[in-house]
């Protein structure tokens, strides 16, 4: 716990060695030992290394087509070009997700005219579960189904709720990990939505 309280953004980052200003023997880094070997190993490992699937801010997600409980198919994010698209990944067993759906519904009514377009993607559940949920709630914005988690995998979702905010150009402006309330979401959206 000790040195985490010192400057965290200083270039010293790797605490162990003396900084240039300090006395003491310089401790060689791995590069000094294995520069050549690493190059060879990197070339070999490159072929089998897994690509990080998580989408990051600034990136444009690939198109994924999902169905809604009525059977209609919607292509994300292409179907919402020019709008501020919020893609919200949820499941019925996730209470914070349900609170977020209420917040999105509220914001949808207030800002739809400004191009605010929320979409809640149900992850890993059946159409019947989603339909039962919709029967008990008054949700007027699109709810999509992702029963085999294909979209969640494409977006690199590792926990629920996770929300992506795409700007009008279709690039990810924000990725929100965890539960967010109406006020927090509005604060984040303010720049993108021009509120």
């Amino acid at each position: 716990m000790s040195n985490v309280f010192t400057r965290w953004d200083a270039p010293r980052a790797h605490a162990p060695w003396p900084s240039p200003g300090r006395t003491g023997p310089a401790i060689p880094t791995r590069r000094h030992f294995l520069h050549g070997a690493l190059l060879a190993a990197a070339a070999a490992l490159g072929a089998i290394a897994t690509v990080d699937a998580a989408l990051k801010a600034g990136e444009r997600p690939k198109t994924v087509t999902l169905g809604d409980p009525t059977g209609a198919r919607i292509a994300l994010p292409d179907a919402y070009g020019g709008k501020v698209l919020v893609i919200h990944f949820w499941a019925s067993w996730c209470p914070p997700c349900l609170r977020e759906i209420d917040a999105l519904e509220s914001l949808f009514h207030q800002y739809r005219e400004r191009g605010f377009a929320p979409v809640s993607v149900n992850v890993g559940e059946t159409k019947a579960v989603a339909a039962e949920f919709l029967r008990t709630r008054n949700v007027t914005y699109p709810i999509l189904l992702d029963p085999d988690s294909a979209a969640a995998k494409l977006y690199g979702v590792t926990g629920l709720p996770t929300t992506f905010v795409l700007d009008r150009g279709g690039a990810i402006a924000f990725k929100i990990l965890g539960e967010i309330n109406r006020e927090g979401l509005l604060r984040i959206l303010s720049g993108t939505l021009g509120t």
């Binding site: 985490v4 965290w8 590792t158 990725k175």
Partner: protein, 393 residues
């Protein structure tokens, strides 16, 4: 023709070879002998290599981790003061920070804010702390590599955590702490003081503990006694305590390393002790023939010692190189499951090479000497006996 048929024909005396040529000839014979029993040599070498690999991996890991710990503790405070109630750590009133700051010999006393936050989405505990210098701005955070990997959170992402009051607290990720700091910062989340207090619903007049820097020349014992008078019941942790704790990590005498070392040392002794019984009939016969051809006992023993050393040297080199690759390129993959235990957020062991020369030398010497000694003991009998009896036996 020999006039005495009862006595066997004595071999013709061979011209004395210069010492170097003689040794080269013996070595050549020893290597050729190894190749005549490739299976046996391979099994023996593989066992030795495995023993060297495990022992050396442990030595590299221990040495590098201790190097990291020692360097990290260079910046540790001279004294950490914690308030205890019924043996549990409790929050410290900020008034106590002021009081400790007035103790003679104390250069500075600062309250720290740190805690553990359980994130149900990750199923993991984060260590949340406020840096004493240059903390992040309100609403921002720097996160460790473990949190980043676990939540797939990167720079500019928003990490939403539920406060102890039940409200979401939003953190925009300003930085992911570098991989090189993963060993100590994988689960770390650095935030501003207002965000920390909002997240944990902490009042502004308490801190978690106090870090004390002593004035140059101050007597640590005198300061400790004075602090105890100001805060009776406080637990005082000195830099020496921290160093001793770090030093005991991966110590040979404690825990898992001790078990591994003991097991491997035992295996080495068994391998060496097994040599006498492992001398095959063919090898014994071969030694008898060599004796009959005029090889001296010393030549035979030297040849057999070379055989053993050739295998041992190869085992040491291969074992140590493999251990280096395992620990420094492979992140000590064989040991990490044990070291990590039930932890959810775990660091990648990106260690800087460190060589404990005496330990490595001990491993090498024992690996060379013990099997060689076993070989010499095994060969002593056949090398000393009469050639015809050795061949017949």
């Amino acid at each position: 023709m020999n006039s005495n048929p009862a006595s066997p024909a004595a071999p013709a005396p061979q011209p004395a070879l210069p010492l170097l040529r003689r040794q080269r000839a013996v070595l050549e014979f020893a290597l050729a002998s190894l190749l005549r029993h490739p299976g046996k040599a391979a099994v023996f070498g593989a066992v030795l290599t495995l023993i060297v690999f495990l022992l050396t991996s442990l030595a590299f890991l221990r040495s590098s981790v201790r190097l990291e710990a020692a360097a990290m503790l260079q910046e540790a405070p001279d004294l950490v003061v914690q308030r205890q109630v019924a043996g549990r750590q409790e929050l410290v009133p900020t008034a106590a920070v002021v009081a400790v700051g007035t103790v003679p010999g104390v250069q500075s006393a600062q309250g720290r804010l740190w805690g553990y936050y359980y994130d149900p989405a990750a199923g993991a505990n984060y260590t949340v702390a406020v840096p004493l210098f240059n903390p992040p701005a309100e609403g921002e955070a720097a996160i460790g590599g473990g949190i980043s990997r676990s939540r797939q959170g990167y720079s500019r992402d928003v990490l939403a955590l539920r406060s102890y009051r039940g409200e979401p607290v939003l953190f925009t990720v300003k930085a992911v702490l570098p991989d090189r700091a993963d060993l100590i910062a994988a689960d770390l989340m650095l935030v501003s003081e207002p965000d920390f207090r909002a997240l944990f619903a902490l009042e502004t007049d308490v801190v978690n503990d106090i870090v004390v820097r002593l004035a140059p020349g101050a007597d640590p014992d005198a300061v400790r006694h004075a602090v105890t008078r100001v805060l009776p019941g406080a637990r005082l942790i000195t830099k020496a305590d921290l160093l001793a704790t770090a030093d005991s990590f991966l110590d040979w005498r404690r825990g898992l390393p001790g078990v591994i070392v003991l097991a491997m040392a035992l295996a080495l002794v068994i391998v060496a002790a097994d040599k006498p019984t492992a001398l095959s009939v063919e090898e014994q016969r071969e030694m008898g023939i060599l004796r009959a051809l005029g090889w001296s006992k010393l030549d035979l023993l030297v040849a057999k010692a070379w055989e053993s050393l050739a295998v041992s040297v190869t085992a040491v080199l291969v074992g140590m190189l493999a251990a280096y690759a395992h620990v420094y390129l492979g992140g000590a993959a064989l040991f990490t499951p044990v070291l990590r235990g039930w932890a959810v957020l775990t660091p990648d062991l990106d260690l800087v090479p460190s060589f404990d020369v005496p330990v490595l030398a001990t491993i090498a010497v024992l690996t060379l000497l013990l099997p060689a000694a076993g070989t010499l003991i095994a060969c002593h009998g056949p090398a000393s006996g009469a050639p015809d009896s050795v061949i017949r036996d």
